[in-house]
Structure formats: C-alpha cells, structure tokens
Amino acid sequence: MFPGLFEWIWDGGHMVFMGGLWYALGIIGLGLTYCIVKSAIDTAGGGEGGHGHH
C-alpha cells in the first residue's frame, strides 16, 4: 500500500492507482484539518461565526 512496504512495485499501475488514492485522501485530510484547526481558533477567539451559509 505504501512505497517500500508489502507488495509495492515501482510501476505505472501502482503509481497511478495509489497516487490517485493518496491524492484524494490528501485533499480530504488537508481540508478537514483546515476546518478543525480554524474552528478551534475561531472558538478560542470567541467570535460569533458565519450565518446563512447554505
């Protein structure tokens, strides 16, 4: 699953498939981390937050 670990081969198939998976997981993880950290900062700052954001 990771380069250097079990069953990994440096070929096009592994790079495209695993690259795509980790690219998607990376964006999801970074996006969530940003939201959680910013919310913690906003909460600590005591702001009201946004409204009408549907």
């Binding site: 699953m1 079990f6 069953e7 070929d11 198939g13 592994h14 495209v16 498939f17 695993m18 795509g20 998976l21 998607a24 997981l25 964006i27 999801i28 996006g31 969530l32 940003y34 939201c35 959680i36 910013k38 919310s39 913690a40 906003d42 909460t43 005591g46 702001g47 937050g49 946004g50 409204h51 954001h53 549907h54």
Partner: protein, 410 residues
C-alpha cells in the same frame, strides 16, 4: 417530547406517530439485518448465485443506487463548481440521498464479499490492473466526502449548533465545501466510469463488450454520463415523495425547474450517445462475433426486445423530451411521470449491464441461464431501502434539510 431538537419555526408530527413509523420500517430493517447475518455467518450459499451468476440481485441494486446517488455529485458540481446558486435549496437533500445511496452500496459490498473481516484486502493487496479496485478506492473516498458534506447539516441541529466549536466547524466546512465537491466530482467520474468499464471489457460477453477510447471502453463514459443525467431525477422524485407525505412544499419551483431542465438535457444527450452505441454494437460489434441483435432478446422467458425499448424509449427519450420543454416541466403529472421514468430507465440500464449480461448464452452449446434471487438476497436488497427511509425521516425531523421550508409554508 423531542421538540427541543426540531428546527425552529417548522411543524412535525407527534413523537408517538414518528416512533410508530420508525418502528414499522425498523422491523423491515431488522428482517434485512437477519438475512445479512445469515450471509455472513453461514456464507454465500444463502444466495442463488452460482458459476453463471457471480453478480446477483444486490449487485444490480448496488449499481443502481450508485447511479441514482449520482444526483449528489452532479448537483454539488453544479452548485459549487459551475455556480448554479439556486440549487442551494436542494443540495442538502441531494447530499443526504447521496450519503444513503453510497453507504448502502458499501453495505451491499460488505455482504457480497461474504467475509467482511477481509474487506481491507482490497486496499492492502490492491490489484492495480482491475477497474473494480479503482471503484473500491473511489467509492470509499467518495463516501468520506459525502460524510463530510453531510456533517455540517448534522451540526446545524438546533441543540448541536449551540456548541460554539460545532457552530464554527459547520460554518468553516461550508466555506471550503467547493474543494470537497470538486474532489467528489473527480472521484465520481472515475468510479461511475469504471463500473461501466467493467462490463465493457468483458470480451467473452458480446452483449456488453464495447470498443473504446484509449484504455477505456466507451461504456465507461456512458455510465458516468447516465449517472449525472438520471441522478437528479431520483433526487427530484424523493423530493416530490416527501412533499406528498408531509403535505408541504419543501423546495421552490425555480430550483426544481432548473435541476429538472439540466437533467432533461443531460438525459437527451446521453440517450443520443446510447442509441449510437446500441446501433454500432448491433450492426458491427455483435455480427463480428457471430451474433445478431435478436440472439440477445429471444428464446428465453424474460428478456425480449421490450427491455431495450423500456430502457431507451420509455426510460430515456420520453423523460428527456418532457424535461427539456417548459410545458412538460410545468405540468405536474407529466413532470412526475418523467422523473419516475428516468429512475426506471437508469435502473433498467444497470439491470441489463449486470444481470442480462450473465444470462445470455455465449457458447453454441449454451442456453440462457435464468436466475431468481433467494429470499436472503431480496431481504438484503430491501435492507438499504428501509435504512434510507429511516435516515431521511430522522434527518427531516431534526435537521434543517430544506432551507426554504419555513418561507414556503408560512
């Protein structure tokens, strides 16, 4: 009793009535769970799958709910990427339906592998030459995206939203939702496509085999296109259903009209491509392998040419023509007919690509392999429906799913 949890300014039925409804649907859910446990504890011999039918009823249901759940990624794409702001009034509901469809799809797959404890093998021992590996990767990631899109709605519950961190989290998630929506559209393009691609590369099955564009058989593109086209029909059908049950208008006409119009044009362009595909397959691909069109639609008790007509004409051309015209969209009966026919059309397409493919004889000594699902397969196919009904009921009762509800019903 639970009035503190219900969104402000809206009316809901009594707690007792709601509990009775959940109890009845919950009994159906438990029947499905019992069948699911039989499949897990006793094995796939509980099903009628065999060497002919490695794909059973629930795999059709799996592909159908993924196509119908396509309304979530396509509506999200239109709302956040294209900038169709009017769709903000239906996006919550589209996401909820998408969440139900994809969690159901994953549940069905967990039953289908027979050994759920080994589900992680697909990630760790990934076969990087398989389109189904790509489907598994994309489905899992897209389910994560749908959970992220559904989470702010949960956090906007009247009581949860009083917690400052949850309030800020919901707001911040809305702020960056375009990133998640774009990721969802990217993932959906590939998993919808690869599900179609799986059928298209079955060169031993001239019923579904297709030629391609680079490494993709063109069923790849037809599946993605059809999910984007028909998914909104399912979203609109369930919107109209919940409006009929509650006796309220929940989404404004302008929003419904816009989504229906886009869906209509998508269905029309898709069905033209599908007709071209069918024509080329019937006149070039199948004859090249020694078959005529009618070989696939005769000498069996079920699959007549009617199924092709039902898919393309009744489930494709008719809803497309109704939805692209303003008169069709404005006529309530025609509108309902069109969105229901759309749902039937894409479901028949998935049925044909999953089950008829398996039934068609491919050797001169073969006969049609007909199949009837076991009760366990039927129960586990109904299970996600019961789960979906319960989740929609709970979400509608406690979450601000429809932002226009108060304004439209004052």
């Amino acid at each position: 009793m639970d009035s503190a949890l219900i969104p402000e300014g809206v009316k809901r039925c009594s707690t007792g009535k709601f509990a009775l409804f959940i109890g009845i649907v919950g009994a159906v859910l438990l029947w499905g769970v019992y069948a699911m446990l039989l499949c897990w504890l006793k094995g796939l011999n509980q099903t009628n799958m065999n060497d002919y039918y490695g794909f059973a009823l629930w795999i059709w249901a799996d592909l159908a709910v993924i196509a119908l759940g396509g309304g979530a990624f396509f509506t999200g794409f239109l709302r956040y990427i294209v900038g169709k702001d009017e769709l903000k009034n239906i996006i919550n509901y589209a996401v909820l339906i998408g969440f139900i469809c994809y969690s159901s799809a994953l549940l069905i797959l967990a039953i289908d592998i027979g050994q759920p404890l080994r589900g992680w093998f697909i990630f760790w021992h990934a076969n990087v030459h398989s389109m189904l590996t790509e489907v598994a990767f994309c489905l899992s990631c897209y389910f994560a995206v749908l959970s992220i899109e559904y989470l702010p709605l949960i956090l906007e519950n009247r009581q949860l939203n009083k917690v400052p961190f949850f309030h800020h989290l919901a707001h911040n998630m809305h702020e960056v939702m375009a990133v998640f929506a774009a990721t969802g559209a990217f993932l959906s393009f590939f998993h919808q496509g690869s599900l179609g691609g799986v059928a298209g590369v079955l060169f031993g099955r001239p019923f579904s085999f297709r030629e391609g564009v680079f490494v993709w058989p063109w069923t790849f593109f037809l599946f993605t296109w059809s999910a984007a086209a028909y998914g909104p029909c399912f979203t609109l059908s369930l919107t109209k259903l919940i409006e009929a049950i509650t006796g309220k208008q929940l989404v404004g006409e302008k929003c419904v009209n816009l989504l229906a119009k886009i869906s209509g044009w998508m269905i029309l362009t898709y069905i033209i491509a599908k007709i071209a595909d069918t024509w080329y397959w019937a006149s070039v691909l199948a004859p090249a392998q020694g078959f005529t069109l009618m070989d696939f639609y005769s000498n069996n008790p079920v699959y007549g040419i009617w199924i092709l007509v039902l898919e393309i004409v009744i489930g494709g051309i008719i809803p497309a023509l109704i939805l692209i015209t303003e008169r069709g969209r404005k006529n309530p009966m025609l509108f309902i007919l069109a969105i229901i026919l759309g749902v039937i059309g894409v479901s028949i397409n998935r049925w044909v690509m999953v089950l008829q493919v398996m039934a068609v004889p491919v050797m001169p000594f073969d006969t049609w392999a007909m199949y009837f699902p076991s009760w366990q397969e039927i129960a586990t196919t109904i299970l996600p429906v019961a789960y979906g009904v319960i989740l929609i009921a709970i979400s509608y009762r406690y979450l601000p799913v429809f932002p226009q509800e108060r304004e439209l019903n004052d």
